[in-house]
Symmetry: C2
Subunit: 930 residues, 2 copies
């Protein structure tokens, strides 16, 4: 059945797809039908990679099976039989009967990778009879009986649903009777006896190899609907309707002696992207042995210490073949490959290939170098980097020498999940109270270490440099809260035992006490004893600190090239949220094309400003308020002048005062006396004012434009300061481009009134200075109602800017301050697929955004629309905003590169230049933000 | 130009509509074209009522004038001239030139009444020449010059835009020179001189009567667009596009001597609805004099004290004519009429008629009696009562004599918002504990007075006769809870200073001490010192207290008949919100067809329950929580049993626990020790728990179904209690019909999980008891996101119930607790047309409701949908819910009759049986809730 590549699609109704002997029914782009693993096995066979022959039962069969509650299509039996016959003729073995038994594996494989979620069964075909024949054929009875033992154990567990604990107990009991007490010490008799025990435990282990095969296939299909698989799909937004393929494949063995081995290889170094074979292997072992972690795997390349036992040295020919195979696979799939291989008696087999996980640094280097090598085009190169990883390139890192020294000294005591990028070190604390004590009272930096965190730890997390937990995944409470706070975080570090009562942490036999120094790397997940020095990333050194010349950083050059490609294709503009000239400068260096949100409230907390601000707040009369505002005016003018100057020629959206006024007054009784004295009023008057301004739900209180309505003089002062600063700069020849943004608008009437006043003040100010500047007055869309009446509001607005933080809070009814008590649980248990404050909730909040864009533009064609919430820096959300037709996104300065690349990727996707979803689905699944 | 009634519509292009001499171009149903006042003038003329002849310039002309920025249609000049000629021929006078001058008035009049919003000019046609002729014709030079003086003053102000202050100063200066210092003392010379002064002040007063007329017409049209008129329209949701008509009418004078008079008459007593002429008049006076309030008007009927000076006695013939005219107008317009009349030299003229304002009692009596008299049909009778007024019929009232005495003695010490109708008096208490002490231990009746209330005051509110707060609006905690309890409540009484520590209240310099007697009137907002006797409304005496036989109360009989008519036509079902068997019983008596919202949280505040509730909250382990819940289970079962029994055969929707748990723990340090001791835990542990549960924005925090997700055992206990109670009742033969409602759902997954658990518990409970009861599990739709994904949520819900209170809070981003700091200003200044917590915001919140209904029913056809927010008892909102296709509304028990009538009115409107908007627009405008 030879087909050319182009005409290779099987006829309709074809459901069993064979591969082997250089020919394959399927190919790489059939992931929907054959699953990711299956499609790549076919593709590899097709291009001559040594893959053990096999066949794939399509996802269609799985869907049929699930829809009919366990039926299989009528003619599937003969088709599978036929496919097995092909394997027999390719291998010269027989699956049932015959002198040399053919053994098979059945593995699941869905469209996108769901690691560990579904079932696998190995060594099918063994029974009381074939085990003897395998024993004869291999002349290794121990191997044969071990395979049989494993089959019975696996089959009982996966297919028959037996309790795996009982099997483990039997195995442990057997081992105990051996001299060394290990599995390796079990002899043939032991394994034989154990297999008998297992068979009797299992109850219904089938001796018929065909019954075994069908049982395994059914089990794989059934495993699509286990609770954990469903949860995984919900969390990754995969459809339940996909179904999984089942791959039936000839077994190969890495444990058939010293000329056998098994291992994992990356086509480039996944840590730094260098073009060399990277990975580890284990001689005379099976894949499961690597996973079990009983023996330490050895490095692939000569250079890797300890010397002398690398794959390159031990099996030089196999190494050369593996290296060239990796290059071919990389060239063929156009991406860094993560390859599973087995050497069976010096013979190389590739069991799986897929795009490999890599660090941000490796991703950027590999993408740009693969482009330079002619392996991929620019648009592919852009798709090879996960935008969120660019932020890792900007995070501080441990001094590499210090980190390597720590590694040599064995001070890397644990490794967890890289839940929040960055590097942090400090004194280890095991409780929130200790964290606060050491930070506040002793001035220390601390790393908060907990078994897992809960709402009660929030205060401790807030003061810590980094957070480390023994339990929890990428979406645990600790991970979600830490990322929200922008803190470095390592979670799920299972080898740590945290005893907060005794103030101790055990890590693989090492004991740390509260107060000991600890360092954690949230980009790699490493936990390191001692205090490691950090340094800024190279890109920050070049762009912001200017302490490194561009030519001295290859990373920077790669980064810049990638970014320039992205800028060439994206349609969305990218601005930054920045409140100071310094932040604006950083944002500009990182590629911001304007400021999308300049908050004005932080400016009032400075010591020289809080006094007039408070005087304004406690004033009873408008005239007193105006007097206090007059003192603030020149300061505000300076604020705006600085930021407008830093962004010369680019638009700066300035949001008028937003927070409730009580935020500017002291809360505690202690501060009252001093503040009252400063203000020249009585304590009781101040207390009354504080009391009067206190709110039950400040998020839904007297803030935003509601302040502007109640105290128009505040906004008047701010607008005057904006345009006075603009006039001064323009006279100097600096092109200041301010935009005035009115927050929290819920009705068109609010905006109408405030706009009239602001326009009047702006024009008066400009007129007085004889300047002509276009006055742009727009609004934040952050109250659900504003989206519902966006058509009306647009009539009063020169622009919209979605404040998706507040919009998410109100649409869900989630206070960000309080949701930490349930939101992590919601994400972890799959009630929500992800944290809606990190990635926009497309079906809820997104529906409001879409409606507002449509109605806003209908009412005012060409209305400029952006977004200035946290979501502006989230790649998935950026994609959504592109699809909504927004003009720009605005995010924190360090996320600007992320947004630039995400916008480019979405533009490529839209133009069809993006990767077929099939090729990247593995990556897409992995990189989906939770 | 005689027309029959049916063919009376003027030809197209006709824009000036004459009336007079028993003929009229227009008629009552032309309010759009002629305005309300104009249409009724035409109609009255047509049916032979003595109306001074005139003509109407249609609203079309006004719209033309406004659209063209001051142009008038080409042929209007001749048309108006022609119309004036008709008036000349009817009156035998000439408008310009001729021996007896014709004087005219120009008055505005839009489709709906906008009292005082637009302009009026009287006495047009007077100038230096005609004033002399009027003087001769009337032989009353003083009258003539006074008219001229008024014309110049009014014209200058309204048409020429002169500063009215200057005129007032001149007038005051003149008066000062007279012996008595009053206007009445001005002689002809004075008036003549004053007129000269006015003319010179005005600058451009036109002597040409035609120029005067056109100036006045233009001014009336222009006045449509004054700022105050625009604001008024926005507040009343009137369209800016209507325009106003201008009514030009022959002047008549009530100030031409003792045989002249002016007055206002109602066709029935507007206080109690009795069928007799009611009103007041002033002999020898003009309408303005009544408004100015310089003299006290006299009563119309003989019985009205003081004796001897009634209209009936002074002008018996005119009285008889007026009475028969009023009867005719009432019969013709089918409603109680409010009539303006003038007697000019014994000759009766009717200047205006419209539907009259009346109390609830009068509205019900008049409607039913007018039906009995054959004046109107049933559907008209239902339209004659404003639904909100029915609530007043149920509230207790102070004995009127006692209240008047208090007013005379100056004991009305403050006035707040009439937040919960009724009258209550008792000892003033300033805390819940004092309230409970005095009620329980001393057997006193108390009025609870607080700065504002919170959940901790519920117990105190429950035992108090009435609640008075210094802060908070119509929708504050106190107001909402009080209305829910059917308690009398006055809120926002800003002049009170409540010092609960010292046990004192300051009110405008008066000092009250805890224990002093206080009376509050929740229908008027009055706060009265001392104990005023009250009595329950007759309807309550009949229906609830059963202390009055139905036959002994005419009011009750009228009420019942009206309600039965309403029940016959409405499509919306009406349920009540009730948490206790007592409330449920009241609701049932008032016509509730089920309970739409039974809250379960208040049940836990009782002293015997708060302890296990707190034990549950402070428990660290699920097992401890379950132990505490086991103690609550029998109590909850009793709660539900009582309410299900009271509502036998009718559905009872029980909402599972909703508020954040911290509401059940003490807030202050003081309470902690005692509570900790009771719970058997340390104070520091309790404090930590309180601390951990504290929330920044509790409204958006850990509450509602989020509690159910975190602590499934709470909802399990509640569901078990519900179905155990159901089983017990069913065994007794009582048909209990519970519905389980899960609050605050924002995602379908929340409901899915909680529903599965609840169903399981329900079925297990039913199974154990061998009962078959349909399990109904639905959700409150109160988070904006729930509306956006209603299609998904509907798949998990047997019913939806809109919680429009929270939905409004989150859609607007308004916290009810805090919005009192700006919401009143928003409504007052017209940023919002009304308080969205009182009447549903149709364009914002309403859009979400509509969307949720559509998508919910699309996904689950026939889905039962109701509303259980405050809006369920607001007539306008009830109309909206009817139009949305809801199945039922649920409101507080005392609002059930309101909702029944409002639902009937909307059904009539839908079927076209409702009044044409034209006839009721005056009333509709007036009754629109702000």
């Amino acid at each position: 059945m030879s087909r050319t590549r182009k005409s290779a699609k099987p006829a309709a109704g074809h459901r069993v797809f064979s591969f082997g002997g250089g020919k394959a029914d399927g190919q790489a782009d059939q992931m929907d039908l054959l699953g990711g693993k299956g499609a790549n096995l076919h593709e590899m066979t097709r291009i001559g990679i040594p893959v053990p022959p096999g066949f794939t039962l399509s996802t269609e069969i799985c869907r049929y099976f699930l829809d009919t509650e366990g039926q299989l299509p009528d003619k599937l039996g003969p088709e599978v039989e036929n496919a097995v016959r092909k394997l027999e003729s390719l291998s010269g073995k027989r699956y049932s009967g015959g002198p040399v038994p053919l053994l098979l594996s059945v593995r699941s494989g869905a469209r996108a990778s769901m690691p560990g979620m579904m079932d696998t069964i190995l060594n099918l075909g063994l029974n009381d009879e074939t085990v003897e024949r395998l024993s004869e054929a291999t002349r290794d009875p121990r191997f044969a009986w071990d395979c049989y033992r494993r089959l019975v154990q696996m089959y009982s567990n996966v297919v028959l649903g037996a309790d795996s604990g009982r099997f483990e107990e039997c195995l442990a009991a057997r081992c105990k009777q051996t001299p060394s007490g290990t599995e390796a010490a079990l002899r043939v008799d032991d394994l034989c006896g154990l297999t008998r025990e297992f068979i009797s435990l299992a109850g219904a282990f089938p001796q018929d190899p065909w019954e075994q095969l069908w049982g395994a296939i059914r089990a794989v299909f059934r495993s699509w609907n286990t609770a954990r698989a469903k949860t995984y799909r919900r969390m990754h937004r995969f459809s339940d309707s996909w179904g999984t393929a089942a791959n039936v494949q000839t077994m190969v063995y890495g444990n058939m002696g010293p000329d056998s081995a098994t291992g994992v290889a990356f086509s480039r170094d996944p840590a730094n992207g260098e073009r060399l074979l990277y990975g580890e292997f284990m001689p005379n072992a099976q894949g499961e042995d690597i996973v079990a972690g009983i023996r330490t795997p050895q490095g692939l390349r000569r250079a890797t210490p300890p010397m002398g036992d690398s794959f390159e040295e031990l099996m030089p020919e196999a190494f050369t073949l593996l290296e060239s195979t990796a290059r071919r696979l990389e060239a063929h799939f156009g991406d860094l490959q993560d390859i599973e291989f087995t050497i069976e008696k010096s013979c190389l087999y590739i069991l799986q290939t897929r795009s490999g996980k890599r660090t941000g640094i490796a991703a950027v280097r590999a993408a740009v170098e693969m482009f330079d090598e002619g392996l991929i085009g620019q648009s592919q190169a852009m798709q090879r980097v996960e935008p969120g990883q660019l932020q890792h390139l900007l995070a501080p890192v441990f001094e590499p020498e210090a980190r390597d020294a720590a590694a040599r000294e064995g001070r890397i005591i644990a490794r967890g999940l890289n839940a929040g990028p960055g590097a942090a070190s400090g004194s280890m604390v095991l409780s929130t109270s200790e964290a606060i004590h050491r930070v506040r009272d002793l001035g220390e930096k601390v790393i908060l270490v907990r078994t897992e965190t809960s709402a009660e730890d929030i205060a401790g997390m807030a003061v810590a440099e980094g957070i480390l937990t023994a339990r929890g995944g990428m979406t645990s409470h600790a991970a979600v809260v830490a990322r929200g706070m922008g803190k470095c975080c390592v979670t799920g570090c299972g080898t740590l035992e945290v005893d907060s009562i005794k103030g101790r942490v055990h890590a693989k036999g090492r004991l740390l006490r509260e107060g000991d120094y600890l360092s954690i790397d949230g980009s790699t997940g490493e936990v390191i004893e001692g205090l490691l020095p950090t340094r800024p990333s190279e890109i920050v050194q070049v762009l912001i600190e200017k302490s490194l010349a561009p030519d001295d950083s290859a990373l920077f050059r790669h980064f810049e090239r990638l970014m320039s490609w992205a800028d060439g294709v994206r349609r969305l503009r990218v601005r930054a949220n920045a409140d100071t000239p310094q932040d604006a400068e950083v944002a500009r260096q990182l590629g911001a094309e304007g400021i999308g949100l300049c908050r004005t409230e932080h400016m009032f907390f400075a010591p020289d400003r809080i006094a007039p601000m408070r005087a304004m707040i406690v004033a009873d009369k408008e005239s007193d308020r105006r007097r206090a505002l007059d003192r603030l005016l020149p300061m505000q003018r300076e604020d705006f002048s600085g930021i407008l100057r830093a962004m010369e020629g680019l638009p700066v959206t300035i949001r008028l005062l937003d927070p409730p006024l009580h935020e500017f007054l002291p809360e505690e009784d202690e501060g009252l006396e001093e503040v009252a004295r400063d203000l020249g009023i009585t304590v009781s008057k101040l207390r009354r004012k504080v009391e009067a301004l206190r709110e039950v739900n400040p998020m839904l209180g007297h803030r935003g434009c509601r302040l502007g309505v109640s105290y128009p003089e505040i906004y008047e002062m701010q607008v005057r300061a904006i345009y006075e600063a603009t006039c001064v700069l323009r006279r100097e020849g600096v092109e200041a481009v301010p935009e005035v943004m009115i927050p929290l608008v819920g009705t068109s009437e609010e905006l109408h009134r405030l706009r009239l006043r602001a326009e009047e003040v702006a024009h008066r100010t400009l007129h007085a200075s004889g300047q002509q500047v276009e006055v742009q007055i727009g609004t934040m869309i952050e109250v659900p109602r504003a989206c519902l009446v966006a058509g009306e509001i647009a009539k009063q607005a020169d622009f919209f800017s979605f404040g998706t933080n507040d919009l998410t809070q109100m649409t869900f009814g989630f206070s960000r301050d309080d949701a930490t008590s349930f939101l992590p649980e919601y994400v972890e248990s799959g009630i929500l697929p992800f944290d809606p404050f990190q990635s926009i909730d497309i079906s809820g909040v997104g529906a409001l955004v879409r409606q507002a864009v449509e109605e806003g533009r209908q009412s005012r064609p060409g209305l400029k629309i952006g977004v200035c919430g946290e979501h502006g820096g989230d790649p998935d959300s950026v994609g959504f905003f592109h699809r909504c037709g927004l003009d720009y996104v605005s995010c924190s300065p360090y996320r600007v590169p992320v947004a630039r690349l995400a916008a480019a990727q979405e533009a490529l996707r839209e133009s069809g230049e993006g990767p077929s979803m099939r090729v990247t689905s593995v990556r897409a699944a992995r990189t989906r933000r939770i």
